[in-house]
């Protein structure tokens, strides 16, 4: 591992520590007694005492933090204030739906971005380029949840091609899974695709202007030939890494889209936790998102470092 990689990893670790402190603080920043709030009318002393003890809320703060973070490292995120079930189990139960959606979205995004971005770069200022610019500009300005509603209106309502919501687990019915996935994945994919289209365009342009490509063109290769052999390879590697970053952003974009499509994923879980004042559950979900986010960013940066030694220098 290079010095850069080590430094970058160490930095991520520091940030991770900060993230864990921030997430831990969440439950303590709430005005009032979080257990009491979460129990609401279901309050009874025995449950209350058990939850407080389980959450370690009667110990001094540093001990609480150590206990919590120690558990988190081992995959134990405490128990839900609402259901008493382990938070980890609740999260794992929701993970497949969110992963399905994130992966489906990336596929849709790449299907849009690669052809459109490449075509735009090949003919700057052409009609295709203009279309690409308009599409991507509008794409990043449209709220995902509105896009989702419009897709439901058209494809679930008027045309009736896809269900308006609901998730079918892959293991239960692969065809149904795909069918249920189309609309939500297209919703988030369109937005990510807009960002990726811009990026593909500029990567390809940059690759086109690189020395060896200019040489190849000077040698008489047409733009198409140059594109396939020299450019795409150079342009796609950074694209892959940016896609990684997009995946991280997607994780956040899915929160609201999951609501629109009644998609039983982590975003929905996090919102339910907020509304139920189930702080351990919220902490677990937020921590997971942040860790995935950090890891993806770290991975992308390391990959950049390999691709472009100037960064690692």
């Amino acid at each position: 591992m290079s010095g850069f990689a080590l430094r970058r990893a160490a930095q991520s670790l520091v940030v991770l520590l900060g993230v864990s402190l921030a997430v831990f603080a969440l439950v303590h920043l709430v005005p009032g007694d979080p257990v009491r709030l979460a129990l609401g009318t279901r309050f009874d002393q025995a449950t209350y005492d058990a939850l407080r003890e389980r959450a370690g809320l009667d110990q001094p703060l540093p001990a609480q933090y150590l206990q919590w973070i120690g558990g988190a490292v081992r995959g134990d995120l405490g128990v839900s204030f609402r259901s008493g079930e382990p938070v980890t189990a609740l999260i794992l139960e929701r993970l497949p739906a969110t992963l399905s959606l994130a992966l489906g979205s990336i596929v849709v995004a790449l299907l849009i971005a690669v052809p459109l971005g490449t075509a735009s770069a090949l003919r700057p200022r052409s009609a295709v380029d203009g279309l690409g610019t308009v599409v991507s500009q509008i794409g990043i300005s449209v709220p995902e949840f509105w896009m989702g509603i419009m897709l439901i209106l058209l494809f679930a309502g008027t045309l009736g091609w896809f269900p308006a919501g609901g998730y079918v687990p892959f293991a239960r019915d692969p065809a149904g899974w795909l069918h249920s996935l189309v609309l939500p994945a297209v919703t988030t994919g369109l937005v990510s695709g807009s960002v990726l289209t811009r990026f593909t365009r500029s990567s390809v342009l940059e690759a086109l202007s690189a020395e060896h490509v200019r040489t190849a063109r000077a040698k008489g290769l047409g733009p198409r030939a140059v594109l396939s052999w020299h450019v795409l390879r150079n342009a796609m590697l950074p694209l892959v890494t940016v896609t990684g970053v997009q995946l991280a952003y997607l994780l956040s974009g899915v929160v609201v889209v999951e609501i629109v499509f009644a998609w039983p994923g982590l975003g929905q879980l996090a919102l339910q936790a907020v509304e139920a004042r189930d702080y351990p559950l919220l902490q677990g979900a937020v921590l997971l998102f942040a860790v995935v986010f950090l890891l993806l960013n770290l991975g992308v940066d390391l990959l950049y470092g390999r691709l472009d030694p100037r960064i690692a220098a």
């Binding site: 269900p163 998730y167 009644a262 929905q268 139920a276 004042r277």
Partner: protein, 509 residues
């Protein structure tokens, strides 16, 4: 201790039962809409996840939807809501009305194989009473519960209680558990005598399997599952594509359209629920009866009802719906902004008035109705500040009396006492609005012990009139129960108390 927490949905409950909250917390939107059912091919989509499955502790309608099929009570409401034998086959009352003896069914077994006896009844009732669990107030007049012999239980009372049957059997909140059951596990496990056994509980669904040793008719289905689908659109799609076979998550605005839709069968029946506006009688200026009357006069109930429920509810100025034998036809208010203004001025409320109106996203119809009410009170110079709270906060503020006004409903009421007693008697368990009238108290007290039904009704009618005139509640409307199921499904009956029994259901061929 939460006594019936109010309102919410509960279901089946009589007396006030209302209590159920459909689960606290937010919308559980678990839209696992499209899963094929595991148990026996019958899947019921309900809109919320149960908070827990301990019948004596939960107040959530979602819990009772499931528990209805798992537990039994001594007596049970028939479709017309008259109380019928269940685990008790017959009963006698002493001449002074202070002692009730129940004869129990024999040969009944719990899901764990233990026999049902008088001890089970004593254990269950004493658990509720001694631990002051959710429905303890239903046993307010019960002095003692004694097992006379294995098949006879005697309830001794402190005062005659003509509605004792609906109090102890109105819904599954008074379910009978085996003596000595492990109470700590009841939130997620069930040991009942009902037609189905609770098999598995997860975040997305609950599965039941048939109990072959059931004391009554064996259930027709080998099993069934409940899935939680918060989004009505997703629930309907799932029904139409045969991923679920039953749902009560039907948006009111779609009822008309669904009535003509062959892909679903729609059931609609007047329910025993009611929704209302309450103002804080302990807080000026709402402590002034004329101010409350002004507001009651300014409101257009028809508009509120249509906005909140489209064509699936009827406005009512009292609590008890028209179809009930206890209905009292009384509607003193006609929408009249000028008269309302005069009342306000008479009460000395000159300047602009601000009224905080507490609603909850848990019941979106309260948010809808509040906006209509805000618009109707604006011409009066009353600015309504709508305060949308999550349900836990909402309940907390309610019980602390920290509100100007709130909107909510009570569900599953059967006996007139359910409708009025805890809500309007001075110091009543659910009298959060702090209404206090000696006249009303006296009428309610006399009605509670009046054994002759006609006389009882007359007393409750007078009490209702007093309550309406004093505007302890502004009653708004009685909603219908609306449910939809797969065409060709047989053996299911939609009921006014929204109890859902699936033991006789057969699937379409």
């Amino acid at each position: 201790m939460r006594r019936r927490t109010l309102l919410s949905t509960l279901a089946l409950s009589p007396v006030v039962v209302a209590g159920c909250t459909t689960g606290e917390g937010v919308d559980t939107g678990d839209g696992t809409g499209a899963e094929a059912g595991a148990g026996g091919g019958f899947v019921a989509a309900i809109s919320a996840q149960p908070d827990q499955l301990d019948p004596h502790k939960t107040t959530a309608y979602a819990s009772f939807q499931i528990l209805e099929n798992v537990y039994d009570t001594l007596v049970v409401p028939a479709e017309d809501l008259s109380m019928q034998p269940s685990l008790a086959t017959s009963w006698t009352t002493s001449p002074d009305g202070l002692s009730w003896t129940f004869t129990l069914a024999e040969g009944v077994t719990f899901h764990d194989g233990s026999p049902f006896t008088a001890d089970s009844v004593v254990f269950s009732f004493k658990r509720i009473i001694d631990q002051q669990l959710a429905n303890a107030s239903r046993f307010a007049t019960v002095a003692d519960v004694v097992a006379q012999d294995p098949t006879h239980v005697v309830l001794t009372l402190t005062s005659p209680t003509p509605n004792l049957l609906s109090r102890i059997g109105g819904f599954k909140g008074m379910a009978i558990l085996p003596a000595g059951v492990d109470e700590a596990t009841l939130a997620t496990k069930a040991v009942g005598t009902g037609p189905f056994v609770l098999d598995s509980v997860s975040a997305g669904e609950v599965e039941l399997t048939r109990f072959d040793q059931h004391w009554g008719e064996r259930a027709t289905l080998p099993g069934l599952s409940f899935q939680f689908i918060t989004e009505p659109a997703a629930a309907l799609t799932a029904l139409q594509s045969d991923q679920v076979q039953w749902t009560d998550n039907v948006p009111p605005q779609q009822v008309e359209q669904l009535a003509g839709d062959d892909s679903v069968e729609l059931g609609q029946v007047a329910s025993v629920d009611y929704w209302y506006l309450a103002m804080n009688c302990a807080k000026a200026p709402f402590s002034d009866r004329d101010v409350r009357r002004a507001i009651a006069t300014a409101l257009d109930r028809q508009a509120i009802t249509e906005a909140a429920r489209f064509a699936t509810a009827r406005p009512n100025q009292t609590a008890i719906p028209e179809d009930s034998a206890w209905y009292y036809d009384y509607a003193p208010f006609t929408t009249d902004p000028d008269a309302a203004k005069a009342l306000l001025e008479g009460a000395g409320v000159a300047g602009p008035l601000t009224m905080g109106l507490m609603v909850t996203s848990e019941y979106p119809e309260t948010v809808t109705a509040a906006q209509v009410i805000a618009s109707q009170l604006e011409p009066l110079g009353i600015t309504v500040q709508i305060q949308t709270e999550d349900f836990a906060t909402w309940l907390d503020r309610q019980s602390r009396g920290d509100f100007d006004a709130f909107l909510l409903g009570w569900l599953g009421n059967i006996d007139p006492a359910d409708f009025y007693e805890d809500q309007h008697r001075t110091g009543g368990a659910n009298n959060y609005q702090k209404y206090s009238s000696p006249v009303t108290d006296d009428l309610l007290d006399r009605a509670a012990v009046e054994p002759v039904e006609a006389a009882r009704k007359a007393l409750y009618d007078q009490a209702a009139k007093q309550i309406v005139d004093d505007v302890s509640y502004v009653y708004l409307y009685n909603p219908d129960a609306v449910q939809a199921w797969a065409p060709g499904l047989r053996g299911y009956t939609i009921r006014p108390d929204k109890a859902i029994d699936f033991d006789e259901v057969t699937l379409p061929a």
